[in-house]
Structure formats: structure tokens, C-alpha cells
Amino acid sequence: MANFRRFRPDDLHKLSKCNLDPFTETYELGFYLQYYAKWPSLFQVAEDQHGNIIGYIMGKLESSPDVYRFSEHYLPWHAHITAVTVAPEARRLGIGRLLTEQLEVAADANNAWFVDLFVRVSNHKAIAFYKSMGYSVFRVVKDYYGDHSSDPTLSSEDAYDMRKPMKRDVNREHVREDGEKYEVDPSDVW
């Protein structure tokens, strides 16, 4: 039922199975194309037999800009998962895991220290998903999201910044056991 391959722009016309799901954000064209332009091999899709996209991951490789070099929040060379999503009909088949593992392979090949991502603290399924693959909370970013996914009376929601160390981080320097206790502001992350 599925093929794994690199994203191509025409796939943007086939995103409905993923993006009509309320948990998946739809971005401006430039956002998708920026990833495709800069990190094409980190933008992978799973497609069904009819050409519909049933899962995708969008990622990047980078470090914090140099001006942050002496900041405690400076991030060394790492991979970042910007979006990962699987269509409801194709969940729990391991597609999300395969997409993420592909990105981790690329992160290791590029000598990254870790892979990180942000997730809403209320997105329990996604948190369980990441934890099952060895990600842990590194810090809590207060009011990172400008809305709340389940409570319309709230105007913001915290994010977990989750991480998984890559091969380069032999001494596990870039992860922590009790990340839930470390709170930072959105201005500290970038």
C-alpha cells in the first residue's frame, strides 16, 4: 500500500489525506518549498497506490546562528523535525517511525549531535510516538503555540522540545533525564 520516496512539489496537490486532518497544519507554499529547496533529502513522503500522500516528514540540518554562540541556548549542529504526519487511515503501520528513522540516518550521515522537535504538551499520541523511538523531553517552551489544540478558551499552549542523541553524542551531553523541569521562553528558542 505504500511507497517511500522523496517529496516532489506536485505532491502538494495530493496532501488532502494528511492535511484535512485537524492535527496537521497546512503551511504557505514557500514554507514547503524552502525545505524542498534546502534539504530535499530530508523531505520524504509515503504514498498510497493511488498517488495520495499518506505520510510525510519535513526536516532540516542546522545550528543556531553565530550570534547565539555564547548563549546558553545555543544549539550545535543538529537535525530538526519540522513536521511529521501520517494520514489517519495509515496510522500504526510504522510509517511515522520509518520516516523518522530515515531522517535520523541522514542526521548521522551528516554528523549531527542530535535530532530535535517541538510538540504540543497536549499531543499525547505524538509524545508517545516520539518516546517509543527514544526521544525525551529536553525542555518546556512556555506558551510556544499561539492557541490551544483542545481548549478554545486558552490563548496559548506549551511545547515540549524533545531530543534524541545521535551517534556523535557518545557521552549523551545533549540530552537530559528531567527535561520537564527546565522551562524556557519562546524567545530562547529559534
Binding site: M1, A2, D10, H13, L15, K17, L29, G30, Q34, K38
Partner: protein, 807 residues
């Protein structure tokens, strides 16, 4: 990045503070006065340029035009201009590029001239970027060639590949003259071939060597070869030891394998596809790649199809099965997804086997290997949401005897008598879907003589399932199916245990049952795809009672399962057919179709909406605003969005794909729909149209001969139909395809006159690689001239040209 993108350019550091301040404050009259003084005193042409630049900011037409004349002068005098002057003039002209001033005739050549004279300056790179962002490929290619020569054999390989990529882009662009097209094509291929030869012949390639190293460089080579080289060259290189698809797979690179298979398929090279798939799959088994690296359904499908087309299909298919068996032996290591792919591959190979191989003695024709394989697949996966979609194509291929065996002997036995109730009901829902599917398959009917015992027969077939006289579909079967589905539905709603189990299931079985009932009622109502006469009332062919029953039933289901997008979309279309546009709109809104997905999904609601409900636009002028703003934002620049990022990152295949995507978006049917619908609605109420379609900046690339591109995504519709007939969404359409709809003679209005005067025909857009979308070829009769265009630039100079001429 050039300063003009962000605001006023900074004046040279040597300029005095007084002038600097006046310039940065936008105090243009002062700037003009001071710059004139400095020009007279220093004789430095830079000050003259500052003055002209300031004049261009005044309101008078003559002052505004001075900068165009100055640019023209620079272009004509053939001298190398000053880069600071170019920056100033480019900023001063910034608003004119969207109108009648062609960058490729003005600033582009000036930048190219400067870069050629100063190839080592970092500013030469900025010139390349500026030309690319204005999509002046001629100048960009010239700059890239210069930069490549200057930086040949440096470790930064991008210069070489920018040059090649731009030479190729130019060779396939309308910006290239026919006379030069061949030269550029050859140039691109030859440079890449030389690079490929170097890679093949070197033991190890250094980054400074002009060979092919990265995956992007290699895939660029194959793309160019496919476009401009010969098939033989492509095929021979695809099998070569270093640059071939297999060697790339060994390095963990899959792109070439996928693209190579696509190319071979387009040429019908099945023997090679067979060979390549075989080698690739064996790599996984032998540990040369990660085991399931190429185990995509696509690979298995192509492998099985190719095997069935070889000279020895039996032997080849046996080999496919042999490899498949070896994979099945290690499938415990695989993720669920690959396990499922392997099960589907098993189905695929069984269906590709010649009939004699599947059932050599033709014994037991009913319980054939094909039926058994479907049964085995369902044993594992019947509860999965995608089970029906996975098997429906195979079921529709079965013979009638096989169908009977499947439905009578296999499906009912998937579960034991004492199996859990919930699983039973899920299976029953699947069985109902299969029954519906079979009602759309011709093998369930036998033709009947049109006259029996002297009596003309009104039904052309006899149904082999229920023996009633029938047409396609058999009404008797559909009626029985509705009753059975309704009974199952009632059983669920009547049992607390079943209702409680629903949240734990992949999909609510009530939804499946409601869809089956709804679809069957629609078929019984007489609803069929409406491809031609849209003026004919729906109710001339459709029984309103049955149609409304379907709508009410599905609507009631949506109240139970409001999160189901398939059902919601189905209802949106049904209410539009009924003419209840405002209710359909209420159902549409929660789908939250926004930003990028609008191009593919908005036609599902908005196509021809103005004819149906112009009132929707009343008091809701923003109805089309999200669409308009998507196109305004995505097509603001002449270049594809983010193209410089792709150049900078050395993502050469991304550059080619983004260019193609951009070209299609500029010719999008949805874009035209956005403009047309809004104007028609305004006109309906006698409103004033601010800008006619042909004058609209977004139609700049739409010419009389443009083939519009329809990329509507019908993926989110439920589809219980078999491949023997039209898909469900075709039954729901209010007329022929999207693009033809714009051009219907009834819709002639002054605002859409240039659209509606065209002859129409439907064809597949040749420009869409790998695309099967239907596009509308619109062409104006040669004798008719397009309406005269207003010139919107403040003045026209020798450097302007009609915007239509660039299309």
C-alpha cells in the same frame, strides 16, 4: 541579497551626510538638488544616477520615465556600468518590472555585463541571484558561465552545476530563441557527459574534479539526458558500475532508481525494469542495502508486471515469487508497513501470473489461487481501514466464478462462528462494500437478447448474482444490499456493547454502512456523471425521493461522525447538486481548506459556484480572498518561490521540479476559477469590476494558446466504484470537468469574454510530467485578435514589450 528587495539601497559611503540623510528620509526634491550639485562638481556619473533615482520617486510621468531612459542608454552604450548605479536603477524601476519593463532587456543584461567584467567579485554572485529572482534566464546563464570559468576546479562545485543547470533551464524555456535552443541543449548534455565520463574513469574523485559526485549532481545528469540525450545513452549509463541505479542504491541513494524505473516504463523497456528490480531487491536480501530499502509496493508492482511481459513469463514470475518468498522469510524483522507491502506484493504476483500457471488443470476454477490470496490478505487485514481500498482493484479483476467463491466461501469464513461481535460487524461492513463494488463490475451480468419470445426487453442483462433482469448496476441487488446494510446498522445502534467498542476500531462500521446505503440509493435514483448537457435539469433523470433519502441518510451519519472528511465532502457535493449552496458552505468551512492545499481542493466547492449561488458572495466579499492571497503571494515574483534557496543549496533536481511546478501554478485552472467566479458573481448583482480578467496581473501567463492545468485532488472522496466505471466524484459533478466549465457558452459575460470566446477541447497537458490530469486546451481562433491591452506603465520606451509576448 540585493538591497532593493528590502528597501532603499544604501548610498556609497563616500557620499556626504547631507545627501545621505535626504536620501534615507525620502526627501526627494532635496536629493535632486544636492545630487545635481555634486554631479556638476565631481563629474561623477554616480551623482547623476542618484538624481535620476530620486526623480523616479516623484509623481510626474516625465520624471518617472527618466530612469527608464537612463537604463536604456546604459544598455545601448555597451560599456560596463557601475554596480552601485545598477543597484540604484534597479530599485528605482522596481515597480515597473511587474508591468511593461522587461528585466531581461534592461537590468539583466547590465548585471551580466558587470559580472563578466568583475567575475571574482562577490557582487557577481549577487548579480546572478538578482537575475534569477527576476527569472531572466538569459542573463543568469551568462553570469553562471562566467562564474564557472572563474572558479573552475575550486572545491565549491556549485559554480559548475549552476552553469549547467541554467544552460539546461534556458534550453527548455520560452526565453530561449529557437536558433539557440539546440546549442544550449547540446552544451548542457555534453558538459554533463564529460563529467560522467570522468567519474566513471577515476578511481576516486576529489571535490575539485569536474565529475559527478553528489546525488543531486548525478540525478541532474539523468534528468538532462532524459530530456536532451538518447534513450540508449540513458539506458547504458543507468546500468553502469559507478553511476548506475544499483551502485547508487548501494550508497543509500534511491532517487535515481525511482526516476530510472519511471523513464524505462515510459519507453516500455520491461526487460530492463525486470532486471533492475530484481537486482535491487536482491541487494536488500544480501545485505548490500538495508533489507527493505526498495520494498515499496511500486517496486513489486513493476517487477511483477515486467516479469509478465518477458519472453518467459512463467520463469520470470517464478523468480519474482522466489525473491518474494525470501523476503517473507525475513518479514518478522520488518515494520507493519513492509509486511503489508509484502502481502500486497504476493497478491500482485498472483494476479499477474498467466491463467495456466495459476490453475494449470482448470480444476476448482472457483477457489482459484487468486481468490485464496485475497482471502489470506483479508485474514490479516480485514479490520484495517484501508482493507477495502487495498483489495478492490483485485476483486474487480476476478471472474464471476471467483467472485462467487470469494463472497460465498471465503469472506464468510474469515471469522469463526464464536468470534467477537465487533469483529463480525466490521467484516459485515466490509462485505457490504464488496457487494456494492461488485454491482459496478460487468462480470456479474450476462447480456440478454433484446427481444425474447417476440417481447422487447427493457433490461439488457441478466444479473448472475440474483438472476433478475438488470442494467448496470443491478437494481435488485442494490435494493437487497440497502436492506442488509440497514439491518447491520440497526444492530450496531441497538447494542451497547458494539457502540462502546467503536472508538477502539480503525473506522466506525456505521460510516461504511451509511456510505454503502447512500451510494446505492444514489445509483437507484438514477444519478450518473453529467458530462455534457448541464442545462438539463437534474430531476429529469434523477428520482428526487431516492436522492433525498440518500442525502438525509448521509447527513444523519455526519451528525454521528462529524470528523469524517470523506463523508463531509460527499455531502458538500450532494448539497451543491441540490442547489443548497449556503448549507454546503457551512459543511465546507470546517474542512479548513487553506493556504497551499487550496489549489487542489478549492474547486471541489467553488467550481461554478457563482452560477449556483451568487448570493454567497453578497456581504462576503472575502469569499475568494484566501485563494486570491494564496496566488498573489505564490506568484508575486516572476521566479519560482524559493528558487535561489535551491541554487544556493545545490539542489539541482529541486530547481527543475520547482520550475515546472511554478509553470503549472501560473496556468492553474483553480487560479482562473478564482478570478472568473468572483467576477461573474459581481456582475450578477450589477456590481463594478475593478479589474477585468485579461488585465489582471495573475493572468499574465495565460495566453490565448495556454493549456490550463487542472490539479484538482479527488483523493479525499470515498470511492466504492470499481475501475470498470467512473469514480464516485464523477457522479457528483455538476457538469463537465473544471476547465471546460469556465468556457461554457452560457457564461459569456464582458468580464470573461476573452475566456469564453475560445474553442475548447479536453486533452492531457503534455507539460505535466508524470501527470495524468486533464487540462483544457483553450485556443482563440486565429482570425480573432485579443482585446487591446491598456498600457499600465507610466510610459513606454524602447525597452518595453507587450506582456503577452513573453508567455
Amino acid at each position: 541579497m540585493s538591497a532593493y528587495r528590502y528597501g532603499r539601497p544604501a548610498l556609497r559611503g563616500s557620499v556626504d551626510v547631507q545627501l545621505q540623510t535626504a536620501f534615507s528620509d525620502g526627501n526627494w526634491n532635496t536629493v535632486i538638488r544636492l545630487a545635481a550639485k555634486r554631479a556638476a562638481a565631481t563629474k561623477d556619473p554616480y551623482y547623476e544616477a542618484v538624481k535620476i533615482c530620486a526623480e523616479s520617486q516623484l509623481d510626474g510621468t516625465a520624471e518617472k520615465c527618466a530612469v527608464l531612459a537612463a537604463v536604456d542608454e546604459l544598455v545601448k552604450n555597451k560599456k560596463t556600468p557601475d554596480i552601485d548605479i545598477i543597484e540604484l536603477y534597479e530599485w528605482a524601476c522596481r515597480d515597473l518590472f511587474n508591468y511593461d519593463v522587461e528585466y531581461a532587456d534592461t537590468l539583466g543584461p547590465l548585471r551580466a555585463r558587470w559580472a563578466k567584467a568583475n567575475p571574482s567579485s562577490p557582487l557577481a554572485l549577487q548579480c546572478l541571484q538578482a537575475c534569477l529572482e527576476k527569472w531572466d534566464l538569459v542573463s543568469a546563464q551568462q553570469i553562471a558561465t562566467t562564474l564557472d570559468k572563474t572558479h573552475a576546479n575550486t572545491a565549491d562545485r556549485r559554480y559548475m552545476f549552476w552553469n549547467i543547470t541554467l544552460t539546461f533551464l534556458l534550453s527548455v524555456s520560452p526565453q530561449c530563441t529557437d536558433a539557440s535552443r539546440k546549442v544550449y541543449s547540446l552544451l548542457a548534455v555534453r558538459q554533463l557527459e564529460r563529467a560522467a565520463d570522468l567519474t566513471e574513469s577515476s578511481a576516486k574523485l576529489e571535490p575539485t574534479d569536474r565529475g559527478l559526485l553528489t546525488e543531486e549532481e548525478i540525478c541532474l545528469y539523468y534528468r538532462v539526458l532524459r530530456s536532451h540525450g538518447t534513450k540508449e545513452e540513458f539506458i547504458s549509463r543507468l546500468q553502469s558500475p559507478k553511476l548506475g541505479a544499483i551502485s547508487q542504491l548501494k550508497e543509500g541513494r534511491k532517487l535515481l532508481f525511482c526516476e530510472g524505473l519511471d523513464a524505462l516504463e515510459s519507453w516500455g523497456e520491461w526487460d530492463l525494469i525486470y532486471k533492475l528490480c530484481r537486482e535491487a531487491l536482491v541487494l536488500g536480501l544480501e545485505g548490500a542495502t538495508s533489507p527493505f530499502f526498495v520494498c515499496d509496493l511500486q517496486t513489486w508492482r513493476k517487477f511483477a508486471t515486467a516479469a509478465s511481459k518477458t519472453a518467459d513469463p512463467d520463469g520470470s514470475l517464478a523468480e519474482v515469487q522466489n525473491i518474494l518468498k525470501r523476503y517473507i522469510e525475513i518479514k518478522d524483522k520488518a515494520s507493519e508497513m513492509y509486511k503489508k507491502n509484502l502481502s500486497l506484493a504476493l497478491l500482485e504476483t498472483t494476479f499477474r501470473l498467466p491463467a495456466t500457471a495459476v490453475n494449470p488443470t482448470r480444476e476448482n476454477e472457483r477457489l482459484s489461487a487468486r481468490v485464496i490470496q485475497i482471502g489470506l490478505f483479508l485474514d490479516q487485514y480485514f479490520e484495517r481501514l484501508s482493507a477495502f481500498d487495498d483489495i478492490k482493484g483485485y476483486v474487480a479483476e476476478l471472474s464471476f466464478e471467483e467472485v462467487k467463491a470469494l463472497m460465498e466461501s471465503v469472506v464468510p469464513r474469515i471469522l469463526d462462528e464464536d468470534a467477537n461481535k465487533t469483529r463480525k460487524i466490521v467484516l459485515e461492513a466490509l462485505s457490504c462494500k464488496l457487494r456494492y463494488l461488485l454491482s459496478t463490475c460487468p462480470q456479474t451480468l450476462t447480456p440478454q437478447p433484446s427481444v425474447v419470445e417476440g417481447q422487447p426487453q427493457d433490461k439488457p442483462f441478466q444479473c448472475r448474482l440474483c438472476s433478475s433482469p438488470a442494467s448496470l448496476p443491478c437494481e435488485c441487488c442494490l435494493r437487497k444490499l440497502i436492506l442488509d446494510a440497514a439491518t447491520a446498522y440497526e444492530r450496531i445502534t441497538g447494542e451497547k456493547e458494539l457502540l462502546a467498542a467503536i472508538p477502539r476500531l480503525d473506522k466506525d462500521p456505521r460510516l461504511d454502512l451509511a456510505l454503502v446505503m447512500g451510494a446505492a440509493l444514489l445509483k437507484l435514483s438514477g444519478l450518473r456523471p453529467r458530462t455534457s448537457d448541464v442545462t438539463r435539469s437534474l430531476w429529469q433523470d434523477v428520482d428526487p425521493g431516492l436522492f433525498l433519502q440518500a442525502v438525509l441518510l448521509l447527513d444523519a451519519q455526519l451528525k454521528e461522525t462529524p470528523g469524517d472528511t470523506e463523508l463531509r465532502l460527499l455531502l458538500v457535493k450532494l448539497y451543491l447538486l441540490l442547489g443548497c449552496a449556503s448549507y454546503a458552505y457551512q459543511l465546507w468551512i470546517p474542512l479548513d481548506v487553506k493556504r497551499t492545499i487550496q489549489d487542489a481542493l478549492s474547486p471541489l466547492f467553488f467550481d461554478r459556484i457563482s452560477a449556483l449561488a451568487p448570493g454567497l458572495f453578497q456581504g462576503n466579499r472575502g469569499l475568494m480572498e484566501p485563494l486570491r492571497s494564496f496566488y498573489n503571494q505564490s506568484l508575486r515574483e516572476k521566479s519560482p518561490v524559493r528558487i535561489w534557496d535551491a541554487f544556493w543549496a545545490g539542489s539541482y533536481t529541486s530547481i527543475l521540479d520547482m520550475t515546472e511546478f511554478d509553470g503549472n501554478l501560473r496556468r492553474s485552472c483553480t487560479l482562473m476559477m478564482t478570478l472568473v467566479e468572483e467576477r461573474r458573481a459581481i456582475r450578477c448583482y450589477g456590481g463594478k469590476i475593478d479589474c477585468e480578467i485579461e488585465e489582471h496581473p495573475l493572468t499574465e501567463n495565460i495566453d490565448d494558446d495556454t493549456t490550463l492545468v487542472d490539479k484538482t485532488d479527488h483523493g479525499p472522496f470515498p470511492n466504492l466504484e470499481s475501475f470498470h466505471g467512473p469514480a464516485m466524484h464523477e457522479f457528483l459533478s455538476r457538469g463537465p470537468g473544471l476547465s471546460v466549465g469556465f468556457l461554457h457558452p452560457r457564461s459569456v459575460t464582458p468580464s470573461s469574454r476573452f475566456l469564453t470566446r475560445r474553442r475548447t477541447s479536453v486533452r492531457t497537458s503534455p507539460s505535466c510530467r508524470n501527470s495524468t490530469s486533464i487540462s483544457c486546451c483553450t485556443s482563440l481562433p486565429r482570425t480573432t485578435n485579443p482585446p487591446p491591452k491598456q498600457t499600465r506603465s507610466p510610459c513606454a520606451t524602447a525597452t518595453t514589450r507587450s506582456r503577452r509576448s513573453r508567455v
